[in-house]
């Protein structure tokens, strides 16, 4: 019988080493794999690249603070990684580290990021999108580290300009799901889904924390949002209530 489940989050992330690139789903406070992030902090691995989508680390602000204090983060990829308020941002250890050049922040439009992860998990090496045409996004990769501002290519299709963007595959992907079975099939709840599926496909080793771990057959086949083929490890975690805010 296929059983991808493990008993502890420690076991779930056992393979993660220094320098790992980990996809972190979540849209602000919803659908963030907080328990796995806590395990990551406890494990103490360093030089991590956290490939996000829309501010999961603003939602899991306590976890972000700890990761920054422990100097575990080398780089963050996101579309919305900074506090909206400039005052709050100036006092935030993560933004201070970005300002000082200690942590790299690479920024993409959110839809481009969604497509990068999708392409990464779907065997598509690169794609064209008109998102960002007319902005600096069409010229260079947006990052605080000057040497990494690679030039972008553009091309015309039917008289309109498009930007070439590349797929994003990661070593690991964390996922948060409402329910998963032992074969790795996952079901999300409402808007907590957001980046979870595309990141599950983009990660070489996908580790899912689920609020309800069930046997195969108990998650109705019609309700599977992420087929288990994309998931390598699954661990049950408690459903934690958290503040619905990024302020």
């Amino acid at each position: 019988m296929i059983d991808k489940s493990v008993s502890t989050t420690e076991e779930a992330i056992a393979e993660i080493q220094d320098g790992a690139v980990i996809a972190i789903p979540g849209f602000f406070a919803a659908g963030v794999p907080r328990i796995l992030l806590q395990a990551l902090i406890k494990k103490g691995v360093k030089d991590l690249t956290l490939a996000c989508g829309c501010g999961p680390l603003l939602g899991a602000s306590e976890e972000l603070k700890q990761l920054v204090l422990n100097k575990q983060i080398k780089k963050v990829i996101d579309s919305y990684g900074l506090y909206r308020s400039a005052t709050k941002g100036a006092a935030d250890p993560f933004e201070q580290a970005v300002r000082a050049g200690e942590i790299e922040l690479e920024v993409y439009p959110m839809g481009t990021l969604a497509e990068k992860y999708r392409a990464g998990g779907a065997g598509i090496p690169a794609f064209y999108t008109s998102t960002g045409v007319g902005s600096v996004v069409e010229e260079i990769v947006i990052t605080n580290i000057h040497e990494n501002r690679a030039k972008k290519e553009t091309r015309m299709f039917d008289g309109k300009k498009y930007i070439l963007e590349h797929a994003l595959k990661t070593d690991f992907a964390f996922v948060h799901a409402y329910m998963g079975d032992k074969e790795g099939n996952l079901r999300y709840r409402r808007t907590a889904r957001n980046f979870n599926h595309v990141m599950a496909t983009a990660g070489k080793v996908t580790i899912a924390e689920v609020e309800n771990l069930v046997d195969p057959g108990e998650l109705d086949s019609e309700d599977v949002h992420t087929p288990g083929v994309y998931v390598q490890r699954i661990v049950q975690v408690p459903r934690v209530t958290y503040a619905i805010t990024i302020d």
Binding site: F27, A29, L82, L105, G111, T131, G132, S135, T191, R193
Partner: protein, 225 residues
Amino acid sequence: MVKQFEGLPREMIAMRASKEIKDGDYVNLGIGIPTLISNWIEGRDIILQSEIGMTKTGPLASGDYVDQDLINASCQPVMQMPGTAYFDIFQSFSMIRGGYMDIIAMGALQVNDRGDYAGWSNPARGLDLVGNIGGSMDLCAGANKLIICMEHTTPNGDLKIVKKLTYPATTKGKVNMIFTDLAVLEVTPKGLLLKELFPGMTPDDVQSVTGPKLIIAEDLKEIQL
């Protein structure tokens, strides 16, 4: 410098903008004044899309209805409606980029008379190139009609409708209409057309707080609330 003219409060800018939306429209509302548009469309057949992955987003939720798995793009808890659909981020931005949104309403730092606008990065924050793009550029790329809702000037009285953007652009040439506390303007191939103004103001008043030379509509009227 100080803000010269007092016009509509934010809620009323949103109310005026809400009149641009037709029944049956699929709409996405950005952060800021555009979010307030949702207060004015309850009971109308308008479908709000939230970029997080939801269509037919309901009103803000409170009390027992608050569900931490159900938020809008501003991280506020919202309600589900009969006819709501949930989908993932790839699906969400496919429908956005693919041109399925009839109206996109965004806030802005600056707009010019060619329909360029800036909103994703404020260099005064001192973060060099990095800022928060979020879904703004994708929304612009796919918009059939892009409207900007904002104050006409900053609290300090600095111009927001300018000849040349000094903040990094979010998009170029895509803004169709601008709704402010003082005026309703349309971006046209000939320039910025002043269509409506706040009661008691003259076209010269509005021009005095607007960078590009305004074309005055022949049927100029007061803001139609």
